[in-house]
């Protein structure tokens, strides 16, 4: 078994912190704005779109895409910070 000199626990803590943030946004835009609060925010309009409807039919998906790239970038930074990145 390979031994690591790095701060493995610190790395995992940072990773879990990032995942928590990602999943919080993931939940808020789809389950929050798209479902639970859709009725309340439908009175706001985005062009011809009622906002809640827009989150369910468009917005969540754009946010998901941005979210994954942001996560990939941040994870890359964390990998480097704790010196566990690939060559």
């Amino acid at each position: 078994m390979q031994q690591y000199n790095h701060d493995v626990q610190g790395y995992w803590k940072a990773t879990l912190g990032l995942i928590t943030k990602v999943l919080a946004i993931w939940f808020l835009c789809s389950f929050g704005a798209g479902i639970l609060f859709a009725d309340q925010i439908n009175s706001i309009h985005l062009g011809g779109y009622p906002l809640g409807f827009w989150f369910a039919h468009q917005g969540s998906m754009y946010i998901f895409v941005a979210l994954i790239f942001w996560y990939a970038k941040k994870m890359g930074d964390i990998d480097k910070e704790f010196d566990v990145h690939e060559d």
């Binding site: 389950f31 798209g34 009622p50 039919h57 998901f64 994954i68 690939e86």
Partner: protein, 620 residues
Amino acid sequence: MDLQTTIFVAVGLSFALYIGIAIWARAGSTSEYYAAGGAVHPVLNGMATAADWMSAASFISMAGLIANMGYGGGLFLMGWTGGYVLLACLLAPYLRKFGKFTVPQFIGDRFYSKTASTIAVICLLVASLTYIIGQMTGVGVAFSRFLGVSSDTGIYVGMAIVFTYAVFGGMKGITYTQVAQYIVLIFAYVIPAIFISVALTGVPIPQLGLGATLSGTDVSLLQRLDSVVTDLGFGKYTTTTAGSTLNMFVYTFSLMVGTAGLPHVIMRFFTVPNVAAARSSAGWALVFIAILYTTAPSVAGMAKLNLHGTVNNAVGVQSDPTGGLKVNAAGVKANADPYAVESSLKYEDRPDWMKRWEKTGLLKFQDKNGDGRIQYYNDKTKNEAAKAKAEAAGWKGNELTVNADIIVLANPEIALLPNWVIALVAAGGLAAALSTAAGLLMAISAAISHDLVKGVFAPNISEKGELMAGKIAMAISIFVAGYLGLNPPGFAAGTVALAFGIAASSLFPAIMMGIFSKKMNKEGAMAGMLAGLIVTLFYVFAHKGLFFIKGTEYLNLIGGANSFFGITPEAFGGVGAMINFIVAFMVDKVTKEPPEHIQHMVENVRIPRGSRAVDGSHAH
């Protein structure tokens, strides 16, 4: 060139392309066969994943479902894309670091148990086989509608094509063919949508067109659609939920977790060079998926407005005698009465596309009040005003039934688009069905040859022998899939929901706990998988019959339909997943913790450094 010839040329060219790629990308080693040598660029892998993921159902049926459901249809959009966020941050990078060929192998190694791996193989086989039946019938439908051959012939041709590139090319051949199939299917989907968006709103981007105003008016498209459908007694398009809000919530959650747990999707992330590439590849996959998925609601909303406009002049969107669709700005502003006699289209004046689809039986007209006109409305409405108006107008019930699948397939015809666009849609529908079928077949054959033959029955098999076993398993799977496509069991309709239910309730939680809980042991994982699976199957079978056999439903046993807080069986996978987690942690607490080397393995999987090429060795 007439329409039929154009379609033959388009489909023929696309098939020649797939076979050409198959010859170029033959697989020589097990690593190429199972994981394309682990050398696929993340962007290309993203494209292949998108094609793999977007099935005949996504391409043909989804927009139609959304058109029928309105706002509630958003659960498919959010559910089938949100799963990629879970995949990207909870599973893909860690499974790539683990560096093996299959999902059951991860479960078997992580939970140091061949029984766990075998349970995973069974879940995988059931989920993938039920899913593939839909693809094969999709191939048949597309062929019979567009090429005028029987649906059976269509399935044989489809089998032959998949056989060539899947058996010889393995994952490598499948991956590069899927890249080509993605390009075909995305153009086929987006081009008609652009045409229609321009015709209705003047905006060439369908995603913006749905939120724009109708050409020549200041009425937004959605506002018009809402008022038309509510006038006719349907639910308001932008607010009608799918059952209760709770059901929509759980349904969306189930689709997300199910998506992340489907083995043929997870496998795609074994083909990239390293951990960082697995993360970004999930992002690229979702980019390519989102191009279609964000277009779908536009196709749905616009097609619904077109359809109502075609049969009811009061809508203000009608076919133009010179070809194409036209917004009648004065008609939109006048907001005429859809129940007026002159509003309903005379049956003899119906456009050609309606005549063509009537022949297929997917569109039906029945003149219930004998006035020779088409009345298309919701005759079961709870909207008293609409009901009273329909009765006053002498309407005797809805006269037009439209199969949801028509929305995408007939869309270019409804908008009277050129022949080459219709031909492209035919090629696109076939590409969507074939690419998903190939990905599923790969997951099935890998589970059989790698996890069963090599993992359980013949651990000392040579690489050459395993490669041969893989190809034979693939060939057999194609025949089984073809047979099921030709003789679809009566339960075919309910099965895709079952595939998601199984993936969500058994596979996803087991993999996730394997990575995120170092102390999770084999007893906990196996108990969790079985509990999630059994509870989900129990609830689904209660509604649909034991193994989907009609007459064996046992709804009174669970207290009536949707008795669990009004949740429908299709939405139950998420509940199954929760049960899986809870049972696993409870059993884990009272049994002994996993051996030291397994805990080290988990630590190792969590760290990107040291990732290497995927291989198939079984470490115990």
